[in-house]
Amino acid sequence: MSIWEYANPKKFMQTSSWALPWVAGLALIALVTGLVWGFFFTPEDYKQGSTVKIIYLHVPSAMMAINIWVMMLVTSLVWLIRRHHVSALAAKAAAPVGMVMTLIALVTGAIWGQPMWGTWWEWDPRLTSFLILFLFYLGYMALWEAIDNPDTAADLTGVLCLVGSVFAVLSRYAVNFWNQGLHQGATLSMDKEENISDVYWYPLLLCIAGFILLFVTLVLIRTRTEIRARRLKALEARERMA
């Protein structure tokens, strides 16, 4: 059996309705456990005090913000190359989730920055890049909404996602060049595992897993909704024609 069978809407609806409760349950368990563990049972950082607890939200949401865009890029490519409708709809379904993740990363970053840097907003390369990513999500979603014909919308947003990806990466580089991150590294460098002690690392891992599972849950729900919406639209159109 090939993976492409799941691109059949019937098969997708069956499989997703079977998988959904499991994924949702796991997401809930991982998120609640991870966040409770992180919030109540981890010590304060000697430098940052209790604000270190924000990493359990900030880091997973920031990771997801980027990874969801990558997932949208992959599904858009699958749609453009192999014309599997479910793939295009999954990209559409993922975009609002990605936007919310970006928003969470931005807001928690700003809230965190306030006591750490003494300002809500700093034109730090990372924050700025996320702001640009947020704009890309907005544009992508707006384009989906603006176009009536679903296949046209899928094609055009797919092309936009492709071009946007290149420019998102380019923007990241440009922003880095423009303002050589005065603040990064001074705070916790989160990319390097060894800089984070195990006390923070395990609940963080759990939170990351929780965010991923939550994303999968949401994408499954939303893709199912999109598939139904398209069937509804097709039936309505046929009723009008008849």
């Binding site: 059949n8 809407p9 019937k10 997708f12 609806m13 409708h85 014909n149 679903p150 296949d151 598939i227 398209r230 069937r231 639209k233 097709a234 039936l235 159109a237 046929r238 024609m241 008849a242």
Partner: protein, 210 residues
């Protein structure tokens, strides 16, 4: 040798099939008129033949670089003169000369007028003159005689006859008389796409689940 042949063609508009099982051929020197009520899919069919949208099923075989398509809209630039409009299309198609088109469509006196100052019928004639300057043998025309008076329709018919006599072919969609009685007529109504219940093809993805 056919100029244009279509086998078992199905076309869709907005994701829904509108025509299916369509087949016809068009030989050089012949004209074919497509008829059918509004909404049957005449324009969709012509756009598919012109290559602007992919067919849902079936084959279209046409020699490369042989077709000239004229849509509802004439594609004229209001601020350019008649000559400038024609010269542009002549150089796009690499034919160069526009003198014959001006004569055939009786546009000599209007040659220097801006397109925006032309009447609806004169604009239509200019749109048809554009076809002449493409130098393409197969014309695909969508409602070519809309807003033309009787004299202009006769002028149009004459231009089509000249084109056919020169070995060209013409495919026209219309619901009014074109004044070309020798043209074959194909009624599109029997090719209306059936619903899936009646055994027709479904729109593909949209309806296929559960």
């Amino acid at each position: 040798m056919n100029a244009l042949s279509v086998t078992d063609l199905a076309v869709s508009r907005g994701g829904l099939p509108v025509l299916e099982g369509l087949g016809f051929t068009l030989a050089p020197g012949r004209a074919l008129v497509l008829r059918g009520p509004n909404g049957i899919g005449k324009t969709t069919l012509l756009r598919t033949l012109a290559g602007l949208q992919p067919p849902l099923a079936g084959q279209i075989s046409v020699p490369p670089e042989a077709m000239a398509y004229a849509a509802h809209a004439d594609g004229l630039k209001a601020t350019l003169s008649v000559t400038e409009n024609l010269r542009f299309w002549a150089s796009v198609y690499g034919t160069g000369t526009i003198a014959r088109a001006l004569d055939d469509m009786n546009l000599r006196q209007l040659a220097d007028r801006a397109a925006m100052s032309l009447s609806a019928g004169q604009k239509r004639r200019l749109g048809l003159a554009r076809l002449l300057v493409t130098g393409r043998p197969i014309w695909v025309l969508d409602e070519p005689t809309v807003s033309l008076d009787a004299a202009s329709v006769a002028l149009f018919a004459e231009a089509v006859r000249t084109h056919l006599a020169g070995g060209g072919a013409a495919l026209m969609a219309t619901h009014i008389d074109l004044g070309i009685p020798e043209a074959e007529v194909l009624d599109l109504a029997p090719f209306k796409a059936r619903t899936p219940e009646e055994g027709g093809m479904s729109g593909g993805f949209d309806e296929a689940f559960e």
